[in-house]
Amino acid sequence: MSGQSLTDRIAAAQHSMTGSAISKAVCKATTHEVSGPKKKHLDYLIHCTNELNVSIPHLADTLLERTTSNSWIVVFKALIATHHLMMYGSERLMQYLASRNTLFNLNNFLDKAALQGYNMSTFIRRYSRYLNEKSMSYRLAAVDFTKMKRGAEGVMRTMNTEKLIKTLPIIQNQLDALLDFQPNSNELTNGVINTAFMLLFKDSIRLFAAYNEGVINMLGKSTKHIINLV
């Protein structure tokens, strides 16, 4: 329990007394400690998303509630936990988040109190925008581009032209929102932003792979058209 503030410990104790294990896990994953969320707490949350008797809306709302905190550390860690669950958790959570009209409302977030508050607030705004875009992509395309089947028989390689024309801009928008995070090397100075960066990096690889396959498909089809004309 090193590094946790008194507030975190009191909150965790309150949740354990009320018997809300999910709230306790969320609270422990989003403490004021300047480090990424602990693996054991995230694994517990992933396990919860796969349980049928767990309320996914309750879990999502608990995480979203943590993003209303004034501390950049708590907010950043809540975003990281949400992103982690989107990537590795059950698809039910992704479906619920995509069904909401608004997800993260952090466009004006600013933490003036802390030392790194100003810098990190910028990244929090960008990160929240990316996560909103990610859930919007799922809403529009009904598929998670980072989890879809790849390869010669993959989804993007076998998609028809009409659907491809509609899907590629969605991937583009998500990729643009991801690249807007724009971290500099001298800004990756703490464990929180490093964890976020790693998650974004993994997403970028998968997104680009999906986009690449879409482009290969599109180029192949257009080349065939041209050859048929000639």
Binding site: G151, N184, M198, N212, V215, L219, G220, T223, I226, L229
Partner: protein, 282 residues
């Protein structure tokens, strides 16, 4: 033209006599649609004016009509000369209209390009400027081979062309020659000439090599993702990825760090400049 002119003059003379003698009371009832129809050209106005006067069947060219009711005038049979005159006028007018339509359609074909967003019928109705910008045109349709296969060129579905209006018109060799000339000049035309063929082959080659590279890249990404998804690979998630993506080491940490530091220095310089410029007015 002479017969037509004479017919027109004759008919007009007869009607001017009528106007002077009869006055407004005996004027025939003209349907409203004829009064309201606008006509911009002189030919159109001539047609409409003759049409307005056609119901006057009881008029005799040489005699003044009696000041009787219009019903009596209508019942009386039209004299043969006036009838002949009107018929000849109508025929000549129809011929003129047909000639005019043919010339307008020919000039529309010269355009070959429809202004984007405009209906080809409307474009043909108004004055069509002969813009020969092949980029805008659906000129792939105009090649002799592709004429039978419309709508297969990229982007051709979205653009309206005047071809739909041109297809129904059967004219002589002039239209076909124009179409062939435009097709040869267009960059999207089939590579008939040797030079164009070679260039086209080169372009295809570059596209196919690009596709091969992308496929190779895609396979590399798939391998990396598969390795990452394997259990136990989370200890060093980034290293394997970097090694696979960049075997030559261009994207090595030191290289990236150097580039990132250069970028941050540049951005820092920009930020300092911005801050200094904001401070100066104070």
């Amino acid at each position: 033209m002479d017969g037509f002119g004479r017919a027109v003059v004759g008919v007009w003379r007869a009607h001017t006599v009528l106007d002077e003698s009869d006055g407004a009371e005996s004027s025939p009832e003209v349907p409203d649609r004829f009064r309201k129809m606008p006509s911009s050209t002189s030919l159109g106005s001539l047609r409409m004016s003759l049409r307005k006067r056609l119901p006057l069947r009881s008029v005799q060219a040489n005699s003044l009509p009696e000041p009787s009711t219009t019903e009596i005038q209508k019942e009386q049979p039209k004299p043969s000369t006036a009838r002949k005159l009107s018929r000849s006028a109508r025929n000549s007018i129809n011929q003129m209209c047909q000639r005019f339509q043919r010339t307008r359609e020919f000039s529309r074909e010269e355009c070959l390009v429809a202004t984007p967003g405009r209906d080809p019928e409307i474009a043909g109705a108004s004055s069509c400027t002969p813009r020969r910008t092949p980029r805008r045109a659906a000129t792939p349709r105009r090649t002799p081979r592709s004429a039978a296969k419309p709508g297969r060129t990229p982007g051709s579905r979205e653009r309206k062309t005047p071809e739909a209006s041109v297809r129904g018109v059967k004219t002589g060799r002039g239209r076909r020659q124009l179409v062939r000339m435009a097709a040869l000049r267009s960059p999207f035309s089939s590579p008939n000439t040797e030079k164009q063929r070679i260039k086209f082959d080169k372009d295809l080659e570059s596209v196919s090599s690009g596709i091969r590279r992308l496929k190779h890249l895609s396979k590399a990404f798939d391998d990396i993702i598969q390795r990452e998804d394997r259990p136990g690979s989370s200890k060093c998630p980034g290293g394997a990825m970097m090694r696979k993506l960049d075997p030559s080491g261009k994207l090595s940490r030191s290289n990236l760090t150097r580039r990132a530091s250069n970028l941050s220095n540049t951005l820092g310089g920009w930020a300092n400049t911005a801050v200094n410029s904001i401070r100066k007015p104070n």
